[in-house]
Symmetry: C2
C-alpha cells in the first residue's frame, strides 16, 4: 500500500462520498452539498473530485457538477466510457489501468493543492457502491482506505435500501472508516429515511433526507436533455429552499475541527492519564508522545505538528518495530478484522474448561501439526508471552520435581538459561532471568537460576564473526570467523567439529560445578537464536544446540540415580523450554526458530505474531510426558492456571487465519526474491527481507560495531563511545532521530535497546519501502 | 433472545436463503434448489418455509414454489398484503406483529416437524435483503441469528451488485453466520458472477451462476400471468438442463454432515489436543467435554448426544457462569463485534509506549471519570486480571519501600490480605494469597503476607447473618443478625457502632503483633465484598472497611517515624489495592464495588466485564502519588512492565462501547424492577437480578447452608455431609447435574467451587429466563 498520509487538513474539510448502492444519487448529493457551501452565511469554496468515472463523458459526474453547482472546482482523474464497473471498463478498453497506489497518491496530491489554494470543502466521489471494484479489481473501500477520508454515505431510498445501506455502513466501519453523515432521498412509501434516521441517530450520525429528484427521461435526445437539465435546476432550487443542508455542513465542519483538536490534544491528555509501559515519565513532555490517528499496512498515520491550517495534519510513518514485534500482515488488515468480527459474532467469548469450540480446536491442531515437532502433543492457552512462559516454567519444574522426587516447598529449584534472556514481566518469569535493569528493582524479584554467558554472532567489516566471551576463551581460544551466515548455521556439521566438543565440555563442567555446590535445576529455558528484549543478542546456534545436547545426554548431572527414560519423545536430563514468543512463526523467516538449532523442545511458547498483530493470545505447547506429570486422582495436582479469557474465540480465529495466510505466503514462494538475495552468502534456509549488501556495507561503517539480519529483523549495534552499552545507553538515539525525520515518502518509527537499533518489518512489507529505509540507513551511517 | 436451539439436524439439511438485496431472485433460487432435490439420483423430499411474506397473497413466494416446484412442502408463517418491508406492512395493517421470539420458535418447530417427517432439504427464505427489518423492525440478520442456519446467499447480478453482495456477506459474517453457497443470475454484460466467483473461491464458498430469468411483464392481467407462468416453467426446465445444481446440493449436504461429524468429534479431539485450564485430566472422558457450536445472548449452543438422525443436534444452554464471570452484554453481540472490527480496521494493534490512540485514551478518561474515585489519576494497561494485579503489587510495594526507605532486595516485604483471597495465576500474585489448593503445589510459590480470617455474610433460615470466625469471637462474641441486607451494608452507621470499634481493635492489635515479630508490610490487598475464586465468600463489608481504616489511621504501625502525608489524596499507612477484576463494573450492580465499603482505593484493578465479555484487557488505575514513586531521572526506576499488546485498540474500543452501553442501561433504569424487588429488604442501592423471595426460600432449605444474591451473582452454599467443604468438595455436583439436565426450554451450565454452586447472569439477561432457572433451583432444593 502506498506510503501516503491520510487526508486531513484544518482549512479543507475533505470527505469521500460512498453510495449504499449504485444509482442512489451520489452525484446529486454532491451537487447539493457543493451548492450549499456557496450559500453559507460566509460562502465557502467547494471542489469535487471524481477519481474514476465510467459512462459517457457527457454524462460524467464532474460535468453535472459544473452545470449545477457553478463555481465548484471539479476534476476527474480517470475516465472510462462504458457505464460498467471500472475494472470491466479498463479491461474492455484494453487499457493498462492506473495502479491503485497512483490513484491514491493523485487524490492526495489534488486535495493538497486545493488545500493550498483556499478550497475549504471537497468531496471525493466513488463509483457505484462501497465494494464496487476500482480499475484494478480491488474494492474501492480497500483501495481508498489509506486516505481514510471521513465518509458522506448516500443511502438507498428504494425497496431493500434499508438493508443495503446498513450493510454498506458495516463494510465501511470494519475498515476503520468514520461515517460523518448520511443523506438519502425521501420516499414516503418505503420510508427508509425514517428507519435509517433512527438507526444512525443511535450512532450519533446525522441523517438528512432530501426531496426525491425528478424522474430522468428514458431516452436522451436534445429536447429531453434540455428538459432534464431544467428539471434538475428546479430540483436543486427546491432542495435549497426546503432542506437545511447548511446545518449539516456546519456539523461536518465541526467534526473536522474536533478531530484535529482532539489529535492535537491527545499527547498532553495522554501524559495526564496514561501510565506507559516500560517508560520513565520523568521529564516526559507531550512532544515525546505521538498521536496516532489510525494505521494501515506498514504505516502509522501520525499527527504532524504544524500550525499551518493549509498543511497536511497527518503523515505516513513506517512502523519499524512491527509494533513491539507483533505485526505480520499489516495494520488495519480487513481480512483479519472480518475474522475477529466473525468469531465475536459467532461466540463472543466461551468459557473454556470443560468446553470446546472450533477456533480453539482448529488452532491447537494447526499448531501441533504445523510446527514440525512431534514431541509437542498438548496446547495450553493463555493471554500473552509472559503468562505463557509462567505456564511453561510451572510445567517444566513440576515435571522435573515429579521425576526426581524433589520437594520444591523446602528446597529451591532453579533453571538454566542464558545471560540477557528475557521471558516477560510477571514476577515468576522475571525470576527466570539474571538480575538486570529490567527486574532488579522489582521488590519481589528473586532470580532463580544460573545463566550462561554465550558466544554472539555479528557481521563486522564484511565478515561473519562469533565473539567468544571471556569465560569461554580458555576452552575455545580466539573469536571465530565464518565465510557466510549459512556456515554459522550449519549446526549439524559444527556439532561434530572440535568447537562443538569444546562448547559441550565447557557446559558440562560448568553444570557439574553448580550441582556440586548444591544447586538443583528444573528446566533449561532459552529464546532460540535471538534474545530479543535483552538487546537483540544473536547467540551462536551451536552453543544453544550444545546446551541442549549436554542437558539431554548427561542426565547424571541432575539426578545420578534416575533411570534413563525409555520413551523416544520423553524429556531427558531437564525439560527444554523454548521461548519462541518473539522468534517463532516466521519472525526469523521460518515457522519455528527451533529448527535453526535442530532441537525439538519439550515445551514451546508462541505469541506475538500468532494473531498476525491484532489481539493478545499465547500458546504453550507441551509433550505428553510433561502433561502426564500433572495427572493424578487428586484435583490439586492439576495445572491450576487459567485466565478468564483463556482461548477466547476472537484470538483463536484470528490466529487460525493469520497462520493460514502466512503458510500460504511461504508455499507460494512470496519470499523467494529474498531467499535469492541471500543464497550466495548462506544456505537457502537463512534469509532476510533486508538486503545482504546492506548488511555487508553497514558492517564496514565506522560507527557500527556489528550488524546482522535474519527474517524480518535487522539489528545494528553502534559503537558506544560514552557509555557501556546496555539498556540505558543513548548511543543509538541519533540514528533513531534520523530515521524519524524520514525520507521523501515517509517517516520511520523505530525502537532502540541501548546502543542497538533494530528494524522489523511485517512478512508482507513491500520491497520498495524496505529499500527506501535502507537508503536512510546508508545515508545516516555510511 | 429466545432460548431456542440452533437449527441443525443430520437428516434434514436446512438453510436460510438471504438476498444481497431485494429482487435478486431468492424465490427463483429456492425453486431451482427444491426442484433439483427431487431430481437427484436418489430423490429427496424438499420443503420451503417463508416465515414472513409481504405482497399480494397470489404473488406469494410459497405459492410460486407450489406451482413451480411441485412436491415441495411449503409453509408461510405470517403474511402481509403490502409489498413493503414487513415492519411497515405490520404498521399499515394496524396489527400487532408476532414477537421475534415467537417467529424464531415457530421456524424451529416447523423445521423440527419436517425433520421428523422425513424432509431432507429445507429452505427458510427471508424477505428483502439481509438487514431488511422483520415485523418488529429488527434486522432479519439479527432476528434469525439464534437459529444460525447455514446461508444460501443470493447475490445481485445487476450493476452495483458486486458491492451489495460483498457487503451483505460481510454483514452476515460479522454475526457469526456461515455462508455455505452463493447463487446469482448470469449477466454477461456486468459479469458480476465472474468477479464474485473468484472472490468466494478464495473463501472456499462455491458459487453457481444461473441463467438469467425471463423478464416479468409490467402489467398483470390473466393473459400475461399465464404467459409469465409458462415462461417460468420453461426457465426452470432450462436451468435443470444447463446447470449442475445437483453438484451444489451434494456440497451442501456434505457441509451439513461435516459440521455434525466435526461437532461429534470435537470432544475427543479436544481431549487429545487441549490442556485445559484448572482441570485435572485424570479419568477425563470425551463425554466430560461439551462441544459448543456457537453462542448467542445468554446461551451456548451445545451438542446434543443423540444418534437419532431426525432429532435436533443442538440445544440452548444458559451460560450460568457468565463464561468465567466475563459476560455482560450477551454472546455474539453484534454491536460489540462491529466495535471490534472497527478498531481492527482502523488500527490493528499499535505499539503503545510513546504513542497514543483514541480508544486507549477514551477508555482511560472514561474509567477515571466514571469510577468515582478522585484518587485515581493514571491508567496502566495489561492483558488480564492476573497481570494487572502483578502491576498493582509492583506499584504498591515500590510506593511503600520508597516512602519507608526499605531495601526489598535484602528484606522481605509482605502484604496484608484476607484468607481465601485470589488474585490470579501468575506466580507473583499467587504469592499474594495464603497457601491453598490453588497455589501450594506450584514449585515457586512462596506466600508473602498475612491473611486475616474474616466474618462472612449469608442468609440462613430467612435471616441475614454474619458468621464470626473463631479468632474474632473473643472480641466480638456471637454471630450477628440483621433485619435486612441493607442493614449489613449500612457501613457508615456500623463504623460508629460498638462492633466497628471491636473490629478495629482486633485488626490493630493483630498487625501490631505481626510487626513486632519483624514483618514488614507493603500493601493491603482485597477483593471488595466477594472473594470469588476463593469460594464466593461474602465478607462483612464493615470488616473490610475497618481494615482500611486501621491501615490508614494507624500509620505508626508500619513506620513509626514516617511523617503523616499532608496531601489529601496521598496514601497513608499502606497503599490500598482493591482487586475489582471480578466484582467491579456492575457485576454486583454498581459501577465500582469499592462503594459498598466506602473506600477510595490507591490502586484499583478492573478486567473481566471491562470488554463486555469479548477479549482480554485489564486496567490498573493508580493515584498520582503511587505514580510518583517511580519518577526519577534513572530509567531503571520506571515501572518496567508492558506486554506486546498493551492497550490493544480492539480491546480498548470494545471496552469503551461496553461501558457506554452498561452506563446507559443504568441511566435508563433498566434494572429498576430488580431494585424494587429488593427495596423492601434492603436499601435501594443493594439489589440483585435474582429474586429476593428465592433467596429467602432457599435459605430455609434443609440442604442449604447459606445463600446470598447481589447484582448478577447468586451463591448457594450446600451442606457438605461427607467432606470438609472447600475447592475439592463434591457436595454441589448433584445440584449442578440437575441444572444441567435443564427445564422445558433450556439447559443450564453452571460452575461449582467445592460445596458452593453459583449462578451469574449478564446485565441484560431476560427476567423470564432467570425465573425459569429459579424454578429449577426450587425444584431441586425445596
Amino acid at each position: 500500500m502506498p506510503s501516503v498520509g491520510a487526508a486531513l487538513w484544518r482549512s479543507l474539510r475533505a470527505h469521500q462520498v460512498y453510495g449504499a448502492n449504485t444509482e442512489v444519487g451520489k452525484t446529486l448529493v454532491s451537487t447539493v452539498l457543493c451548492n450549499a457551501v456557496r450559500r453559507l452565511p460566509s460562502p465557502g469554496k467547494a471542489a469535487f473530485l471524481k477519481p474514476v468515472s465510467t459512462g459517457p463523458l457527457d454524462d460524467a459526474d464532474d460535468r453535472h457538477l459544473q452545470r449545477h453547482a457553478p463555481g465548484t472546482l471539479t476534476r476527474c482523474l480517470y475516465q472510462f466510457d462504458e457505464p460498467v464497473s471500472p475494472h470491466i471498463a479498463a479491461k474492455q478498453n484494453n487499457f493498462t489501468p492506473p495502479r491503485d497506489d497512483d490513484i491514491v497518491a493523485s487524490i492526495h496530491k489534488t486535495l493538497s493543492e486545493w488545500a493550498g489554494n483556499g478550497v475549504d470543502f471537497a468531496l471525493v466521489e466513488t463509483a457505484g457502491g462501497v465494494h464496487s471494484p476500482g480499475p484494478n479489481g480491488n474494492s474501492q473501500a480497500d483501495l481508498y482506505r489509506p486516505l481514510r477520508l471521513p465518509i458522506v454515505l448516500v443511502a438507498d431510498s428504494r425497496l431493500g435500501g434499508i438493508s443495503s445501506s446498513i450493510s454498506a455502513y458495516e463494510s465501511l466501519l470494519l475498515r476503520g472508516y468514520d461515517v460523518h453523515s448520511v443523506l438519502l432521498f425521501r420516499d414516503d412509501y418505503y420510508q427508509n429515511h425514517e428507519y435509517l434516521r433512527h438507526y444512525f441517530q443511535d450512532k450519533s450520525i446525522p441523517l438528512v433526507p432530501l426531496p426525491a429528484p425528478p424522474v430522468r427521461p428514458q431516452t436522451q435526445d436534445v429536447d429531453t436533455a434540455a428538459r432534464d437539465e431544467e428539471a434538475m435546476t428546479t430540483y436543486y432550487q427546491r432542495v435549497a429552499q426546503s432542506t437545511d443542508v447548511g446545518g449539516l455542513l456546519d456539523q461536518l465542519a465541526a467534526k473536522n475541527t474536533e478531530r484535529i483538536d482532539r489529535l492535537e490534544a491527545m499527547a498532553s491528555r495522554a501524559q495526564q492519564t496514561i501510565w506507559y509501559p516500560f517508560t520513565q515519565h520523568h521529564g516526559m513532555q507531550p512532544k515525546d508522545i505521538t498521536a496516532i490517528d489510525s494505521a494501515y499496512d506498514d504505516y502509522f498515520q501520525t499527527l504532524v505538528p504544524t500550525d499551518d491550517a493549509h498543511a497536511p495534519k497527518l503523515q505516513a510513518t513506517f512502523d519499524g518495530s512491527a509494533s513491539w514485534w507483533t505485526q505480520g500482515l499489516g495494520h488495519g488488515n480487513p481480512a483479519l478484522a472480518l475474522s475477529a468480527a466473525y468469531a465475536a459474532g459467532r461466540y463472543g467469548h466461551v468459557m473454556f474448561p470443560g468446553n470446546i469450540h472450533e477456533p480453539a480446536l482448529s488452532l491447537a491442531e494447526k499448531l501441533l501439526q504445523g510446527i514440525g515437532n512431534a514431541r509437542l502433543q498438548k496446547i495450553f492457552y493463555t493471554d500473552n508471552g509472559s503468562t505463557g512462559m509462567e505456564v511453561a516454567v510451572k510445567m517444566g519444574l513440576r515435571a522435573a520435581c515429579h521425576r526426581y522426587g524433589w520437594d520444591a516447598s523446602t528446597e529451591q529449584i532453579s533453571i538454566l538459561g542464558l545471560k540477557g534472556s528475557y521471558h516477560g514481566d510477571t514476577i515468576g518469569v522475571m525470576d527466570c532471568s539474571e538480575p538486570s535493569t529490567y527486574n532488579k528493582k522489582v521488590e519481589w524479584y528473586r532470580g532463580r537460576g544460573y545463566w550462561f554467558d554465550f558466544p554472539q554472532v555479528r557481521m563486522s567489516q564484511g565478515v561473519w564473526r562469533v565473539d567468544v566471551p571471556e569465560c569461554l576463551r580458555p576452552h575455545l581460544g580466539a573469536d571465530l570467523e565464518f565465510p557466510s551466515l549459512g556456515a554459522v548455521f550449519d549446526v549439524e556439521q559444527r556439532v561434530r567439529s572440535d568447537e562443538g566438543k569444546r562448547y559441550r565440555d565447557y557446559i558440562r563442567t560448568t553444570i557439574a560445578g553448580l550441582v556440586q555446590q548444591g544447586m538443583k535445576f528444573g528446566s533449561l529455558i532459552m529464546e532460540p537464536i535471538i534474545l530479543g528484549a535483552g538487546g537483540m543478542l544473536f547467540c551462536d546456534p551451536l552453543f544453544q544446540r550444545s546446551l541442549v545436547d549436554v542437558v539431554r545426554h548427561h542426565l547424571e548431572l541432575f539426578a545420578p540415580s534416575a533411570p534413563r527414560p525409555t520413551e523416544g519423545n520423553a524429556w531427558s536430563g531437564l525439560p527444554v523450554i523454548l521461548d519462541e514468543v518473539f522468534t517463532g512463526l516466521y519472525r526469523l523467516g521460518r515457522r519455528s526458530s527451533a529448527s535453526f538449532i535442530g532441537v525439538d523442545a519439550d515445551i514451546a511458547v508462541n505469541a506475538k505474531l500468532l494473531t498476525g498483530g491484532l489481539v493478545p493470545l499465547c500458546t504453550t505447547a507441551a509433550s505428553q510426558e510433561i502433561f502426564r506429570a500433572f495427572d493424578s486422582p487428586d484435583k490439586s495436582d492439576a495445572l491450576l492456571h487459567g485466565h478468564s479469557y483463556t482461548a477466547h474465540a476472537v484470538g483463536c480465529q484470528v490466529a487460525v487465519d493469520s497462520l493460514n495466510t502466512m503458510m500460504k505466503l511461504e508455499r507460494n514462494g512470496s519470499w523467494d526474491d529474498y531467499r535469492r538475495d541471500w543464497a550466495s552468502a548462506s544456505t537457502p534456509e537463512v534469509w532476510s527481507v533486508w538486503s545482504h549488501d546492506l548488511v555487508r556495507d553497514l558492517s564496514c561503517a565506522e560507527s557500527v560495531n556489528g550488524v546482522f539480519a535474519i527474517g524480518t529483523v535487522l539489528v545494528v549495534s553502534l559503537q558506544d563511545l560514552h557509555g557501556s552499552g546496555g539498556y540505558t545507553s543513548t548511543a543509538a538515539r541519533g540514528l533513531q532521530q534520523k530515521l524519524s525525520a524520514g525520507g521523501p515518502n515517509f517517516a520511520v518509527h523505530s525502537r532502540v535497546l541501548g546502543n542497538v537499533l533494530y528494524l522489523m518489518s511485517s512478512v508482507t512489507s513491500r520491497p520498495t519501502a524496505l529499500r527506501e529505509i535502507e537508503g536512510l540507513l546508508r545515508a545516516a551511517l555510511l
